[in-house]
């Protein structure tokens, strides 16, 4: 027992040392700043923040720099929509906190309560270069899924960047199903809920119930209803998107971004004019639902061309495969998006949507999330060689690499596999 205790102490001490932000300098980088590409650049990170970046930046004396030898250097990749760290095994309900179908709460559900920085999905995501994740609740029994959060992928106990980053609402077919069976019911519920939240707490003095929301749900939705919190809306059909644009035009203070928006390209100009950004999955090109008949991989290109701020995410297995956001962005390029816009869509664009000015970029003052790559980050055969979060170099190990290393050789002539690690 004593020995166990001691070794735990040692391990803790090691982690504490590793986690201390050092001064990091990378030279000779092909630097994507989050906004532009700069060849021959240097990046310096001190105490977790970028202190210099660009082709004019220099390495402070006494700091040993990493020569990138012309390799790609980017801000840590930002997954604009994921379920990383809230699911261990998708089909095992006890390990899956995405949705709460038996809960009576809606907007009051705060998903950051469920985040586990030590989930195996966190290092699996991080080792592919994704250092920031937006984590969204799933829809259980309400069109209001609750509040999502932003975190880094360091696995540290304090890795949540913003606890109540957004509230998540379902419209279209999903919202209809959750509110009584019709889009009309979803919109009636949404209007009532926004009214409840805007008038919180006044109308709750006499009663615990509003027209649509209980006291705690109204309290939780109040910042979004007043424009102080981002509202993510899951929606696909052009006519449903148009309704969201109308909502925004009638309530200019609302801060709305769309998730999915399969038919967004059909009304791209209107979205651009309304200043509504879109988080989309560029793979979505099948008419998988009647509300998504116009699905095409050209959606991203057409929205960007119209001036919509587009972030890219991978929706299919968003808990375990959020790392595929890079491949998704590469496919967006194959389908017409410029390389710069695709890079923007997985770095600075998500940061601007979530209002995090110092993330998703490598400029003076940016958070020290940095990745060095062995090739074009969007290429499927490329991978990170170094990953930094908040200026701290990260391990490139995960449970997956340990399994791999155990089974690289199948020789167990001396001892069973269980002795190999």
């Amino acid at each position: 027992m004593i020995r166990t205790f001691l070794s735990a102490c040692v391990a803790t001490a090691c982690i504490a040392v590793m986690a201390e932000a050092q001064t990091v300098a990378v030279t000779n980088a092909k630097l994507w700043t989050g906004e532009e590409l700069v060849e021959g650049a240097t990046v310096v990170i001190r105490d977790g923040k970028v202190t210099a970046a660009g082709d004019e930046a220099s390495v402070p004396s006494g700091v040993e720099a990493i020569d990138a030898e012309g390799a790609w250097v980017t801000p840590g990749i930002f997954s604009a929509f994921s379920r990383v760290g809230i699911v261990e095994v998708g089909a095992e309900d006890t390990t899956n906190d995405t949705a709460a179908p038996m809960s009576t709460f809606g907007p009051a559900l705060q998903l950051s309560d469920a985040f586990n920085p030590l989930a195996t999905t966190v290092p699996v995501t991080r080792t592919e270069g994704v250092t920031r994740i937006a984590v969204a609740p799933g829809f259980g029994s309400s069109m209001f899924a609750g509040q999502g959060f932003i975190a880094d992928t360091s696995g540290e106990p304090d890795s949540i960047t913003e606890e109540k980053a957004f509230t998540f609402i379902n419209l279209g077919e999903g919202g209809a199903g959750l509110t009584g069976g019709s889009r009309a019911a979803a919109w009636a519920t949404l209007r009532a809920a926004l009214a409840d939240a805007r008038t919180f707490p006044a109308r709750y003095i006499a009663s615990d119930e509003g027209d649509a929301l209980g006291r705690l749900d109204a309290q939780a939705l109040a910042p979004a209803a007043r424009g102080d919190q981002l509202i993510l809306v899951a929606v696909d059909r052009a006519s449903d998107i148009r309704k969201v644009i109308d909502l925004k035009n009638d309530n200019q203070a609302l801060n709305i971004a769309l998730v999915s928006a399969r038919e967004g390209w059909m009304i791209a100009e209107d979205l651009a004019e309304a200043g509504i950004p879109v988080i989309l999955d560029p793979y979505a090109n099948l008419p998988s639902r009647f509300e998504a008949l116009g699905s095409t991989q050209k959606n991203a290109e057409r929205l960007i061309e119209a001036g919509v701020n587009v972030a890219i995410a991978y929706f299919d297995d968003d808990s375990h495969q959020a790392r595929l956001v890079l491949q998704a962005a590469g496919n967006a390029v194959a389908n017409g998006v410029s390389h710069e816009d695709a890079m923007r869509a997985i770095t600075s664009a998500p940061a601007t949507i979530y209002g995090l000015d110092d993330i998703g970029t490598l400029e003076t003052g940016s958070v020290g999330d940095l990745v060095i790559w062995d090739g074009d980050p969007l290429e499927v055969m490329s991978a990170p060689t170094h990953v930094y979060v908040n200026g701290v170099e990260q391990s490139l190990e995960s449970r997956q690499t340990k399994l791999r290393d155990r089974y690289l050789s199948l020789d167990e002539s001396e001892r069973p596999m269980g002795f190999k690690r």
């Binding site: 998708g90 099948l286 008419p287 998988s288 375990h320 496919n331 499927v380 055969m381």
Partner: protein
């Protein structure tokens, strides 16, 4: 998850045209009996290659799909077949020459695990025809009877360079039913897509899905059998015992005549496996379960052609090589269910390195559109741990190996003179995320051309809908 359920092995009988054709010897009593007994190919392929003019793909980088790559090579397609490959081929006047000097030419991709048609788009309840969940053993159902040929997913797969695919029943059942192998050419009927002379296959499923669907069925506790992995094995074995008895009756009747045995649709399929006519494709994730299933196949005397999903094949790659069983795999899916928890990105290269048959499969209407990228990821991940595999070798995962697993390698799956001209012209290196299939030929006929809207087929379902004819 939806795909968790779809991933099942289905048992399918091989009652191919070969099995029922050509037996007209007056003296062969056995065959005469068999002929008289019943038609083993009652839903025959009506697919015919579409007309094509001779085409020369000139000066291309060519992966032959057998492990070789040739630079500045020409490929001649004529009469639906690959006529010739070589340098500076001579061209007659009737040949259309296509400059492919900055292109890459490969065999068409073959996906041996798809649910297109049986779980089509749109994903509405009326079109969910891929799992006959009514009982754990439904070897009697055939995927071709549930497949909808108007699934828009076929056109998307075509744009991804897929020229043939196996449509499988889902993985709810121990024995899910027969699969069907099709050419990826739109047709008014399923028969019009069926790959001529392809064997039948049987889908079976290991592990979590059958016991969840039946043991925990409908939320009752307990549901029915199987409730555990023990029940799974007992269920397969009981069926194989019945199939052996059934086979004995038919063999005896064929030898001795007398009253014809009563037909049993379910056992027809299982007997087809025992006869070696039907290929077994079995959904199985865990290494230890695959080992049990291998022993079971020996107990009853049949061959497993491929384990599907096989996320733990890397743990027993040596045994799979020894048993000559293919693994149909994703590059990197993991963790969506407990039996997928140990998935690693190096599964495919580790299986390949052990000398076992590796296949990249999709099990997804999205994944099927970029299987070349899945191979690229697996290749790169293997190389990072010192497994040196060439791109040319990696292409065997996409065409030759799946073709072998489907019993169609004598017709397609590689670029060899005399084979079906199922060919893709890529805009560049197909191991790059930026490359796309530009032209896709099936039996020498141009079926997709990214630069020509006239060669961008539209299913009935998408006619008159938003985005009809759009580049998808």
């Amino acid at each position: 998850m939806k795909h968790a359920l779809r991933i099942a092995g289905a048992a399918v009988l091989l009652m191919s045209a070969a099995a029922c054709g050509g037996n007209d010897s007056e003296n062969d009593k056995s065959n005469q009996n068999q002929e008289a007994a019943f038609n083993k190919d009652p839903y025959p392929s009506t697919y015919e290659p579409y007309p094509s003019n001779p085409i020369l793909l000139q000066d291309a980088t060519v992966y032959d799909g057998l492990g070789s790559v040739f630079e500045h090579y020409d490929v001649l397609l004529r009469d639906g077949n690959i006529a010739e490959l070589g340098e500076n081929l001579e061209v007659s006047d009737d040949v259309e020459v296509i400059d492919a000097s900055d292109k890459v030419v490969t065999p068409g991709i073959i996906d041996n695990h798809s649910h297109l048609g049986v779980y089509p788009s749109p994903s509405v309840s009326s079109l969910q025809d891929g799992n006959e969940i009514s009982a754990p053993v439904t070897a009697e159902v055939w995927a071709e009877h549930g497949a909808w040929p108007q699934d828009p997913g076929f056109t998307r797969a075509l744009a991804g360079g897929v020229t043939s695919l196996q449509i499988l029943p889902g993985s709810a059942n121990l024995f899910g039913g027969r699969g069907v192998i099709v050419k990826n050419v739109l047709s008014r009927t399923v028969q019009g897509m069926k790959f001529p002379d392809a064997p039948y296959t049987l889908k079976m499923a290991c592990g979590e899905n059958p016991k969840r669907v039946y043991g925990y069925g409908g939320g009752r506790f307990p549901g029915g059998s199987p409730y555990s992995r023990m029940g799974n094995l007992a269920g397969y074995r009981s069926s194989w015992i019945q199939a052996q008895e059934y086979k004995r009756k038919w063999d005896k009747w064929e030898d001795e005549g007398g009253d014809m045995p009563t037909r049993d649709l379910e056992l027809d399929t299982l007997k087809g496996v025992l006869d070696g006519d039907i290929l077994v494709h079995m959904h199985c994730y865990r290494a230890d379960e695959m080992a049990q299933i291998i022993d079971m196949s020996k107990e009853f005397g049949y061959k497993i052609t491929a384990f599907h999903h096989a996320v733990e094949s890397y743990k027993i790659a040596d045994k799979l090589a020894e048993e000559e069983i293919c693994s149909s795999m994703w590059a990197d899916w993991w963790g969506f269910k407990m039996e997928a928890y140990d998935g690693i990105r190096e599964n495919i290269p580790l299986v390949h390195q052990a000398g076992a048959c590796a296949i990249v499969h999709s099990d997804s209407d999205i994944g099927i559109q970029r299987l070349n990228q899945e191979a690229a990821k697996a290749l790169a991940d293997g190389r990072r741990v010192g497994i040196d595999i060439s791109k040319a070798d990696a292409w065997t995962w996409l065409s030759a190996n799946p073709a072998k697993s489907l019993g169609i390698f004598d017709q397609t799956g590689s670029l060899e003179a005399g084979k079906d001209a199922d060919v893709v012209v890529w805009s560049g290196d197909p191991f790059s995320v930026y490359s796309q299939a530009e032209k896709v030929y099936v039996d020498g006929a141009l079926m997709f051309d990214r630069d020509n809207p006239d060669f961008n087929p539209v299913t009935d379902f998408e006619l008159g809908q938003p985005g009809e004819g759009d580049m998808k």
